[in-house]
């Protein structure tokens, strides 16, 4: 595209304070509480190691499979010299995979953040494709706490919030310390049962 934009304008970097949003008429703001100065929480730094491990394993399986296919295929089809070409391409892919595994998770980590402010859960993420998902707490149908095998060994957990929406019905929040995840879930469920306790929603520490 030939669009010339001097500097890219993006969603504000997550772990910073959110700037004051009111740009609309004050009349419409009356029905909603004022924007909160609540800070975003980062994920557990261990998440980087976990994502590296997960990514590394996925790549290793994929690369091993391709290697077998290339080798067997070359022998069966008698590809001769072509085999070395394919092998070189494979080696290049492996190199890229290693680079991606090392370099991407910290980037993704830096762009991941969440907060619970004024009974709205906000999850931000995305390196190239940015996304900010906002879920009013009372809209939560149920909360899943998931812990995979590797997640457990790192003491991490993933929370999944489900709403009754038809298109954006679930939002995952990975890379939380297991205790934080459980506490957050309990707090949200308590809030669900007591819609009026607004104060419990705000001012909660990150961990």
């Amino acid at each position: 595209m030939s669009d010339l934009a001097p500097d890219a304008v993006t969603l504000p970097p997550p772990p910073a304070k959110m700037d004051a949003p009111p740009s609309e008429s004050s009349a419409s703001l009356e029905s909603a509480p004022a924007p909160s100065p609540e800070r975003f929480c980062a994920l557990d730094p261990e998440a980087v190691a976990l994502w590296r491990l997960n990514g590394g394993i996925e790549w290793a399986i994929l690369l091993a499979l391709t290697f077998v296919i290339i080798t067997v295929g070359s022998i069966v089809l008698a590809l001769g010299l072509w085999f070395w070409g394919l092998l070189a391409a494979w080696a290049l892919a492996a190199l890229l995979a290693v680079a991606q595994t090392i370099w991407y998770p910290p980037l993704a980590y830096r762009h991941y953040a969440y907060r619970v402010a004024e009974r709205v859960i906000e999850v931000r993420r995305g390196v190239w494709f940015r996304e900010s998902r906002l879920i009013p707490v009372s809209r939560i149908q149920h909360v899943d706490l998931r812990q995979g095998l590797f997640e457990r060994s790192y003491g991490l957990a993933t929370l999944v919030f489900h709403t009754a929406g038809m298109h954006e019905s679930s939002t995952a929040l990975p890379g939380l310390p297991a205790a934080t995840a459980a506490a957050l879930r309990d707090r949200l469920i308590a809030q669900l049962h007591d819609a009026r306790r607004v104060e419990t929603a705000t001012g909660a520490p990150c961990r």
């Binding site: 740009s23 996304e131 009372s138 954006e168 819609a195």
Partner: protein
Amino acid sequence: MSAEAGAPARLSGRLHPWTLAFGLVAVARQLLIPLIYWVFSGFGARGALLVAVFGAPSLLLAIARYWSFRYRVEADELVIEQGIARRQERHIPLANIQEIRLEQNLVQRWLGVARADVETSTGGEVEASLAVLAVDDIARLRQGVFGARADVVASAETPTIEEKLIIALGSRELLIAGLTSNSIFTLFIALGALFRFAEEWLPEREREAVWGVIADATRALGGQSALMAATTVALWVGLLLALSVVISGLLSLARFYDFRLAQQGAALRRAYGLFTRHASNLSPARIQLVAIEQTLLRRLFGRAALRVDVAGVAYERDEERQGRGLLVPLLRRDTAEALLPRLLEGCAPDAQAWRPVSPLAFRRGVIRRSVWLALATAAAFWWSSYGWLPLALFPAVALVSWLDCRARGYLAAPDYWLVRQGWANRVIYVVPTRNIQAVVVSQTPFDRRLGLATLTLDTAGPTPVVIRDVPVAEAEALGGRVARQAEVAAQGLYPRPAQAV
């Protein structure tokens, strides 16, 4: 059999005896071929055996169904029992029943019976179908199920509360509805039916003769000169179009005959249909989203269709055409807007408050459509030396992009959002804030270059509301605000222990 052991049933009943007759007809329809064989073979023993072998099981099933089918309304459940060998007992909590719809075809109307479809919010499917009951029994069933609830009116058939007519469609409106619908589609259906009819009922020789007349006429008219040939083609196309318009007009007339939308207490009551009469009630509280839809043709007539999304219900295309997904098939655009406050409480859009999307949307539209145009041109070059011709369409690309950019906009009020889009077929979505389940502000890499973002408002209905090309700061602020407003609205809705949805 249906011993009322536990909770005393407030109401119980079984199917109407006419069910047996309808069952018999259904069996006969299945057995059409053996029956015809039997009749034509002079009521021979072989034919009788064939009919008995194929017919007996279905007939027994139909009788068993009638015999064993029982329903009862208990303190908080509707219980439906059926089956002799394999008994099935279905318990539907009364609180989950959204609607009991009444469907009646011509014969059933004459006999005073109808099918009652019990709908719950799970997936929008019919949870139980009671076919057939006397119309009075359905009224009693509705009374038993909804009697204690405030959000649904007691009866769709025998109004106990006075109903106020909101809109009734005359035959003129219905004809317009048919003429402006997608008539080409109905034409194909009609032609297909015609061909099948001809193949089955017209002898080979007659069919050939009809084809011969058509072919001869075409040759005689079109064979004379190029002009005549063109005229003939135009004539045929015109004839087919006229035919399709007439067919769709008649179809719409039959489908929506005597359409009435009325207010009955808190609920909306809708009834329509010439041959098959449909009657249903809708509680405005269930409305997730209202869409005012205008196709290009309907814009010329100043008409629109009104559609509502109901939680958990996604209509098939077929049902949509039959009108289940449409609240009003055709009405004046200004009437549609005037109707909004009756559907969504407190919704009185202020025309001044509309906000456009970013002007950059025009540039993006031009670039995106130009890419397609360039690809088309490249493909055309491959084929012929006139490959540059598609480039002549560039002004059209610019025009469409400009119209598209201008057509898009949104109106953010505290209690509801309005979003409009579409340069040819226009649509306005009205979303009550209390129904918003989640808000997503997203940016693609291209969005980030231009400082734009996409705002998505998710509801429990099937239509996603997506606003593209909003300046990122605005999208961010609006997204945060609407999420908080949705939460506040939900707290207002559920002051005590919260119950989502």
